[in-house]
Symmetry: C2
Subunit: 382 residues, 2 copies
């Protein structure tokens, strides 16, 4: 029999991030600056909490919505962090931000609905929208220095526009939306019945004080779906735990997805997450800032242009002087100087003049990898 | 703003199983025979394996498909258990059978596709099919003593039929499909290009030797999608880990869903699952059989009809002599004799003369709960 499969899913390509990472694994001695995974290890206290929960028989079906005690702690945590007020019924525990984004889009999308995505963008937004029969509407932010423009958004709004996905600090650029960007979004929300799905997974990894985020303006609480993860600030990428905060009607929809796709997150993992909320993230930010400054110094010494990140742990670097497409450049770099980076084209067609370097690996690797990258790019100048 | 949500999801009702369980939690001293969750605790060796993996830094992003070392062990295990041959590329690790069923249906369904479901049925099949825009086509198996009929299936096949969902041993009846049922399915697969999604989560909890399962006939390997869980045999319901075995083209689709909805299962949980495969399930079967025999004895003494289960840990009991609908009966039973059971109507409209009793709780509770249930039902006879 010839397979007859879900056609939308069949057409989706695998993530370009993992593709290069897998290629790098075949190259002996290669330094990988591809994946956004902290080399830091999950704190022992977090592991101990999970292990204690295992000993305490926290091995039974969790509520689909997540443990009440964790939801309570999250509400206290977000109040302290961002001065926002949510109720335990307005939170659901998810499989990291992935589970949150998937349930958020699933909660609101009907087939044919349009979702505005700002490019360059994290690779999962587009295929998730497609998987629900939605239509991604792309806006290239490169000409806006990766900020948002009211006019650009307004021009794309149709009666079918159901949601806008935002990501600040941004992957791959590290840019944080400024006041003008946030105001553009608010004006759009004032004028249109639509949701803003806010992927805020890097919001604790911010280099300087003073950044604000859309979720903090609670006048828009009914329209904003806040997606969060324990992965990046607490080095818990493999734990697959995060949460979504939104109006209760949306949470009720997300609970159904949670039931269908997974039946919840392991309770002992949720106890680990509860401990994570008590951890101090400041030393982690200092750690990444040191990595960033070292990498930036090397790039500047080689007169290489890059987007100055205000948070997260990526450098989005301009390679136009290589005169190569980003995939070609990345492959050649890997096989010549043994450094793996992510081609900009993985994040948008318009980003083919860029590659992304992650600086969340060991300090020595950041320095060595960035130096080899810079030397290679410089060697291509004619 | 008025919410405009995913309409299909909005219309889905919460599971009737959990509804009664939550009501029971409000009744002081109530015995709950509702949820299919073993009261047994996960073996210490399994917990130790997960904890050791945490210590060994198994806290990073897993491959979406699951750890190769676990997939290798699963293949060996299934070869030993069922004498079937699968390749590591034909397995994906999932969030229990929920994740497997969701990815299986997502992998094959296009909007408008029909999926045959045999009723009474586990409560998740219907809403998952709906969530993908599919159309559930229901066949009541009650008149067939909960077995399958070629003629009944054949009569429902249309050009839109994409898949058939089966479940043996069955929840809620405990019935194992006999040779005639399996032959009916095979004949249908010979005649039509469709998939059979086989939910086999109770296949190790079988009371007598000699049962066979569809997946064991490897002539149909390309059409059968086998969904399995660690939850029931190893008392790991809260761990949310299981797997799917199928043709590689289907696994490739499932990997994409895994990426979108969760980005994989925690590696340290996968190490726990690896240890589980070494556990001896025989004492567990002896344990449940003892529970079953005690409950059946009580029902027989009260001359109460029930479906004789060959596996799993449920009794599907006829309450027609109560002259009540199953929800009314279950609520009255809870508030009169303080026993919670699941109304048959949760599993199909045609099962309103039944309720489901789980016998996976403590032996004393099985005996006491079944006795109180039997006394109540008997008291209603006029």
């Amino acid at each position: 029999m010839k397979h007859q499969l879900n056609k939308i899913i069949e057409r989706q390509k695998p993530s370009g991030i993992r593709a290069l990472n897998q290629e790098a694994a075949q190259v002996d001695g290669a330094i990988s600056l591809t994946i956004g995974e902290p080399v830091l290890e999950t704190a022992q206290r977090i592991k101990d909490a999970a292990n204690q929960a295992l000993a305490d028989h926290q091995t039974k079906y969790p509520p689909y919505q997540g443990l009440l005690v964790l939801r309570e702690k999250i509400i206290e945590f977000e109040k302290e962090l961002q001065n926002i007020d949510y109720h335990v019924d307005e939170v659901i525990i998810t499989q990291g931000a992935s589970g949150a984004l998937y349930s958020a889009l699933g909660a609101v999308l009907n087939p044919g609905d349009e979702v505005i995505i700002f490019e360059p963008a994290y690779v999962a937004y587009y295929p998730i929208v497609k998987s629900f029969g939605g239509k991604p509407v792309l806006i290239d932010t490169t000409p806006m220095h990766f900020q948002l423009s009211y006019a650009e958004i307004k021009a794309r709004i149709t009666p079918k526009t159901k949601a806008i996905v935002i990501n600040s600090p941004n992957n791959p650029t590290g840019v944080i939306y400024n006041e003008a960007s946030l105001n553009a979004l608010k004006q759009i929300m004032d004028e249109h019945s639509l949701y803003v799905i806010s992927d805020d997974v890097y919001n604790q990894l911010v280099f300087d004080a003073g950044a604000t985020f859309l979720v903090q303006d609670q006048r828009y609480k009914k329209q904003v779906i806040y997606c969060q993860s324990f992965s990046k600030p607490y080095a818990m990428t493999g734990w697959r735990v995060g949460y979504m905060m939104a109006d209760q009607a949306i949470i009720q929809q997300a609970i159904k997805f949670q039931q269908y796709m997974a039946a919840g997150v392991a309770p002992f993992i949720q106890y680990g997450a509860m401990q994570a909320l008590k951890e101090d993230v400041k030393p982690v930010v200092v750690h990444y800032k040191k990595h960033y400054e070292a990498a930036a110094k090397i790039l500047k010494e080689h007169k290489i242009d890059f987007v100055e990140p205000q948070g997260a742990f990526y450098l989005f670097v301009n390679i136009s002087k290589s005169k190569m497409k980003s995939w070609e450049f990345a492959r050649n770099l890997l096989h010549t100087n043994k450094v793996a980076v992510v081609p900009g084209a993985a994040f948008s067609d318009a980003s083919d003049d860029y590659v992304r370097l992650s600086f969340c690996v060991d300090y020595e690797k950041v320095v060595e990898g960035t130096t080899l990258f810079a030397k290679y790019l410089t060697s291509l100048e004619s």
